[in-house]
C-alpha cells in the first residue's frame, strides 16, 4: 500500500524520512528548513511576537480552502493582530493511519502557496502518525514568530473612548461555508470561506497610521465575541450599528434559514480594528485598496458608557446588548 499513511511513516525510520524529505521539505524549501537540524536557527532583532494554534477543522477540504491554508493563515493572522510582521512558522502534523498521501500532497501544496502569499517561511516541523481512530484524519499545529515594527503598540487593552471600530469586510462567510459541507446539514451554495492571510493588509494600515489601538480577527465566536473581548479587556463600552455591518446576501439568507445570527458566525480572513477617530477614514480608504479589505467599513465607536459591554443599534432603531457566543452555534428547530 503505497498510497496512504502507514504507522511506519511515523516510526522515525526510513518511511518517516522519505515522507518528510520527499513530500514535504522540497515544497516548503528554505535555508533554515533544508538543514533538517533539530531546531531552526535564524537571525532576528527587535520586539518579537510569538503565537501558536492548532487546527482540527472538519471537513479538511472546504470551499475556499483546506486545513493547510487555514493553519498558515490562522497563525500569520494571530501575529498580524499584534502588528507584527510574520517571519517564521513551525508546522506539526498528527496524521491518522490510512490518510491518503494524495490528500497530504494537496495540503502541503496549499501550505506552500499560502506561505508564499503571506511571505513567511516554514522553518521547522514534525510529523506523527497515530492508529486509525485515534485522530480525525489530520490535525495541524503551527507556531509563528514575527517582528513588531518600531512605534507600533497594538493590544486588546488599548481601546479608548471616542475611538472608531472598523471591520475589514463581510462577516460569516467561513462559518457558513463550513456548515454547508457538514454531514447532516448539507445545503448547496457557491459561497467560499474567506480564509486569507491578513498581514499585508495590516502592514498597509500601519503605513498610513500608527494610531491603531486594537486589532483582532473575529474567528470562532464571530464578530460579537471579539468585540466583547475587546470591550472587556480595555474596560470600555463598544456601540455598533447593525446597518453598517457588511453581510453577503447569501450568508444572510443561510443564517435566516438556519436561525443563526451572522455576528456569531466564524470568519478566517477578517479583522476588527479599533483606531483613533481622527485617522479612521484614512485607514478605511487604505484598507479598501487591498483585496482583503475592499468591503471595509466603520461599524461603530468606543464609549465610556456600559463598560465591558457591546451594544448594537438594530436595523429598526432600538439598541440591545450583544453578548458573547455561549455554547455552540446550532440551527433552530422550526
Amino acid at each position: 500500500m503505497d498510497d496512504s499513511i502507514l504507522l511506519a511513516h511515523g516510526s522515525g525510520g526510513k518511511l518517516s524520512h522519505e515522507l518528510v524529505e520527499k513530500r514535504i521539505v522540497p515544497l516548503l524549501a528554505n535555508p533554515a528548513l533544508n538543514k533538517l537540524d533539530d531546531s531552526a536557527v535564524f537571525e532576528a532583532s527587535g520586539r518579537l511576537a510569538f503565537t501558536t494554534d492548532s487546527y482540527v477543522v472538519n471537513p479538511i477540504f472546504f470551499p475556499g480552502g483546506d486545513i493547510g491554508k487555514l493553519a498558515v493563515c490562522g497563525t500569520v493572522n494571530d501575529l498580524a493582530m499584534n502588528g507584527a510582521s510574520p517571519l517564521y512558522l513551525s508546522l506539526a502534523a498528527i496524521i491518522e493511519e490510512g490518510f491518503p498521501l494524495s490528500d497530504l500532497d494537496l495540503i502541503v501544496q496549499s501550505i506552500k502557496k499560502t506561505a508564499e502569499e503571506a511571505d513567511v517561511s516554514i522553518v521547522t516541523g514534525d510529523t506523527k502518525v497515530v492508529d486509525r481512530g485515534k485522530a480525525d484524519r489530520l490535525f495541524i499545529t503551527t507556531s509563528g514568530v514575527g517582528i513588531i515594527p518600531h512605534g507600533v503598540d497594538i493590544s486588546g487593552a488599548n481601546a479608548r473612548a471616542g475611538d472608531k471600530v472598523l471591520l475589514s469586510g463581510t462577516i460569516g462567510d467561513h462559518g457558513i461555508a463550513i456548515m454547508s459541507q457538514r454531514e447532516g446539514l448539507k445545503f448547496s451554495m457557491t459561497l467560499k470561506s474567506d480564509c486569507a492571510p491578513l498581514n499585508k493588509l495590516v502592514s498597509q494600515m500601519l503605513d498610513v497610521s500608527l494610531s491603531i489601538h486594537c486589532l483582532r480577527d473575529p474567528t470562532r465566536g464571530g464578530l460579537a465575541t471579539t468585540l466583547n473581548e475587546l470591550a472587556h479587556q480595555s474596560g470600555v463600552g463598544i456601540a455598533i450599528e447593525e446597518d453598517k455591518i457588511p453581510v453577503r446576501e447569501d450568508v444572510r439568507a443561510a443564517c435566516e434559514l438556519l436561525g443563526l445570527d451572522p455576528i456569531y458566525v466564524a470568519n478566517e480572513g477578517k479583522l476588527v480594528a479599533i483606531v483613533d477617530a481622527a485617522d479612521a477614514n484614512k485607514i478605511v480608504a487604505r484598507m479598501k485598496k487591498n483585496i482583503y479589505g475592499r468591503d471595509a467599513a466603520i461599524i461603530g465607536e468606543v464609549s465610556a458608557e456600559h463598560q465591558g459591554k457591546v451594544t448594537m443599534k438594530t436595523r429598526l432603531g432600538p439598541s440591545r446588548i450583544v453578548d458573547m457566543l455561549s455554547g455552540e452555534l446550532l440551527p433552530r428547530i422550526c
Partner: protein, 367 residues
Amino acid sequence: MKFIDEYQDSKLVKGLAHQISQRSTKPVRLMEFCGGHTHAILRYGIRQLLPKTVEMRSGPGCPVCVTANADLDRAIALAHLPEVIITTFGDMIRVPGSYSSLQQAKAEGADVRIVYSTLDAVGMAMANPGKSVVFIGIGFETTAPTIAASILKARQDKVENFHVMALNKLTPPVMRALLDSGETKLDGIVCPGHVSVIIGSYPYEFIPRDYGVACVVSGFEPLDILLCIDKLVEQIEKGEPKVQIAYPRGVKPEGNMKARQLMDEVFEIGEADWRGIGVVPQSGLKIRGKYEQFDADKVFPVSMKPPREPGGCRCGDVIRGVATPLECRLFRKICTPERPVGPCMVSSEGACAAFYQYETPDDLRSS
C-alpha cells in the same frame, strides 16, 4: 436574494408602531405562542417600540422547552445503548434531563449527532447498516410532516435500521389547556406562523368563539409581528375577537393539505406530556401501529429512574406565560446559557435564552 429587507424597513416599522400607539387605549396582554416570535421581538427591540399599554407574554412554543424530562431521560438512555446513533435537531443535545443530557452522553462515548433534516437521518441509517439510527422527533405541526415523510421514505427504501422517538406536539389543544387553566388572563394570541403554514387558521376558530380571545397569525419579520399586534389591538379595542391572518404570503386558511395528509398517514393523535403543563389529552402525535417497526419506543424499550425537576427552576411557569424569565430567581444568577438549569435557557427558541441574549441598555440601568 432579497427576501427580508422589505419586512425590516425601519420607516414602515416606525409608522406601524405609531399606529399601534394611536389605536391602543386600554392595557392588553398578548401571548406570542411561538419561541421564534419571542426571539424576533427581543432581537429587533420590538418591545421598546410598543406602547406601555401592550404587554407581551411568551408562550409554550419552544419544542425543546416543552419536552418532558421523562421523554428526555428516555432519549439519553437510548443514546447509551450499544450500536445506536442518536440524531436530533440542534439544541436538544444541550438540554439537561433529570440526571444527564445528550451532550453529556456524547462525552461519555454515545454517538449523538445533529441533523438539520430528518431525511439526513435516514441517509445516515443507510450509510451505517450495522447500527440503529434513532431520530428524536421533537417539534410541533411544523416538523411532523417531514418526520412522517422520513418514515415513509425509510419504508419505501427498506431502511430497517431507522427509528423515530415520536414526541411531536399539537398547538391548538395546548392553547385550549392554557386558556382553560385561567392562570394567565390573555386578550390576544400571536399565532405561530410556521405551524399555521401546515394547519391553516381554521383550527384557532374556537379561541375567539369559546374564550373571547383575539387570534392573529404572524410571520417572523419585524413588520409581520407589528402588523399582527396592530390587528390584535384593533380587534380588542373594537371588542370583536376573531381569527385573522397577518402572514398571507405563508399561510392559507386551509393550511397545507399535502403535509397534513402525510401526518395523518403516519401519526395518530394521543395524549402528550408537556414540561411545565403536564399531560394534555389529544395534544401529541404517536406513530400508527402499521409503522411500529419505525417506532423507537416499541423497538427499544428502556427502563428509567423516575424523572425529577431542578429545584427553583421556573421554566414551567415561563412556558405557561405565568412568569417572565426576569421573575425567576435563578435567571442570570445561577442559570445561564453556559450552565443552564432549565430548557428555556438552552434553546434558541426558549424565552429565558432570548431575554438573556437580547438584554437592552435599559435593562442594565434598572438592574
